[in-house]
């Protein structure tokens, strides 16, 4: 992964997400400039940056909700830049997205929200009910099936949004600031769900956040399937030593450009004054 590794038309092969020289401007004002990176399948990208750095825009570009002014974007080896809206729907079905505020359909109940994607795909009612219950159990929200989103707290809404994103078991998951505005305990619950999804389903994940501690939590913890709990990935980062490889890379955006890209510990080592502000 990295800017230097991605070039040429065949570069997207083997990557879940691939951006090549992507630029976007809103009303003449650049939002993203010459963004090039790639995320191999199964890896986690923690996307950092202050407000307005272009993090959410980058996710929306990857989903095809926005179109770049220049450059190429590929998802699971297929270039999406030139696809028509109808063709993009097939690509989007392979991506689960957790929006910043949840973006739950406010006129539908929790269960209907979670079932939405399966209903669209025409899944039989019996299977649909079982899968909805399973997804809500995963996020520990099975008791709120008949509630409306307005009756839920911020943290509960994010958990339902995660259940909605994971219901179709997509190979890619995007989280747009899933812990923003939440208390530390609820944030921890949300992050543990992100880790469980990553380590149980092996999904490629992109976590957008302003909080560096969220990034380090994703990089330094993993879900132990056998022990059925989160464990700290300690020890040297050689994969063969005592450390569990969480396959997590940090990327920081600043003013629409990639300011830093690399391993979490490298970020701490660099000693850049701008990065220090996030590390403090």
């Amino acid at each position: 992964m990295g800017a230097g590794n991605v070039s040429g038309r065949g570069a997207a092969a083997g990557y879940a997400i691939c951006f090549e020289n992507v630029s976007l401007a809103f009303e003449g004002k650049p939002v993203l400039r010459e963004i090039t990176f790639a995320v191999p399948e199964g890896e986690t990208l923690v996307l950092l940056g202050e407000s307005g750095a272009g993090k959410t825009v980058l996710l929306k570009l990857a989903l095809g909700l926005l179109r770049p002014d220049a450059g190429r974007i590929s998802i699971l080896g297929r270039e999406i830049t030139g696809l028509a809206e109808e063709e993009l729907f097939e690509i989007r079905k392979k991506i689960g997205m957790v929006f910043q505020e949840g973006a739950l359909f406010d006129s539908l109940s929790v269960a209907e929200n979670v079932a939405y994607r399966l209903q669209e795909e025409g899944v039989p009612a019996e299977e649909l009910v079982a899968r909805v219950r399973q997804a809500l159990c995963f996020v520990e929200m099975e008791g709120a099936m008949v509630k409306l989103p307005a009756e839920l707290s911020g943290g509960m809404r994010r958990r339902v949004a995660i259940a909605r994103a994971l219901i179709s078991k997509p190979p890619i998951l995007f989280y747009d600031s899933p812990t923003a505005g939440l208390d530390p305990v609820t944030s921890e619950t949300i992050l543990s769900l992100v880790l469980r999804l990553r380590d149980l389903e092996g999904a490629t994940s992109v976590l957008v956040t302003q909080r560096l501690q969220d990034g380090f939590a994703v990089a330094n913890y993993y879900f132990d399937r056998e022990a059925n709990r989160l464990r700290r990935a300690t020890g040297p980062t050689n994969g063969a030593g005592g450390r569990h490889d969480t396959r997590t890379i940090f990327m920081m955006l600043r003013d629409g450009e990639i300011f830093f890209e690399g391993a979490p510990e490298e970020m701490a080592r660099r000693g850049d004054p701008y990065l220090e502000q996030f590390l403090r």
């Binding site: 989903l63 909700l65 989007r92 929006f99 910043q100 973006a103 359909f105 406010d106 909605r164």
Partner: protein
Amino acid sequence: MGALSLLSEILKRRVLAVQNYTLLSARSVRNLAGHPRYLYDTMAQMDIIGVGSLPIVILTGFFIGAVLVLQTAAQFMAFGEAALTGDIVALSLVREIGPVITALLVAGRNASGIASELGSMVVTEQVDAMRAMGTDPTRKLVTPRVVATTSMLPLLTIVADFVGLVGGFIVAFFEIHLSPVQFWTRAVGALEFKDLVQGLAKPFLFGFIVSSVGCYYGLTTRGGTQGVGRSTTEAVVTSSVLVLVSDFFVTKFLLWALEM
């Protein structure tokens, strides 16, 4: 920025808006041909737009018919032709006032409702969420509303026309002492096939305008709750103006076509 470039920018935005509106309208119609079809959503919208608008259409239709008689009866009585009141109420209601007033009422009630509902969905990222889950919002949100409004408005217009005639009759009966036979014979006899065609063709077009304009403003909402309010106002104003402007051209066309 100079005045000329500012003007050019404004014009470009207007042209772009017309282009986007045209594309959205075309897609809403084209969606009828493919799958998935959201029948349940369409029925729900028919209930909201059709059944929901019924009380206001009945109330308004009644009083419009009544006031028409009040305004015209005195003139006809001056010429000793009070019986013609039935003719004028029937013709003006069925050909013009019924379709236009019903469309304006539905524009006020439903174009605003559609724009605010879709606008709220846009600003809370629900439309993006829908797209992200592989659903086409024009299929799921626009086409059901366009189909529901376009099919319900002619029915509401028929109700408005009938209730208007009843209102006109009641006033004619009590105010100018016109007998029921006199009023209804003249009212029904005055109407020809081409009047009914005119009166029933217009609501289809008006229904399409009201719903598509509401959807367009809703889906292009920007700027949070304030933006939702702005979209709602613009949807009502634009759809009302378009109903009145298109009414002139459609009437002109129908008069020409029916004469042929």
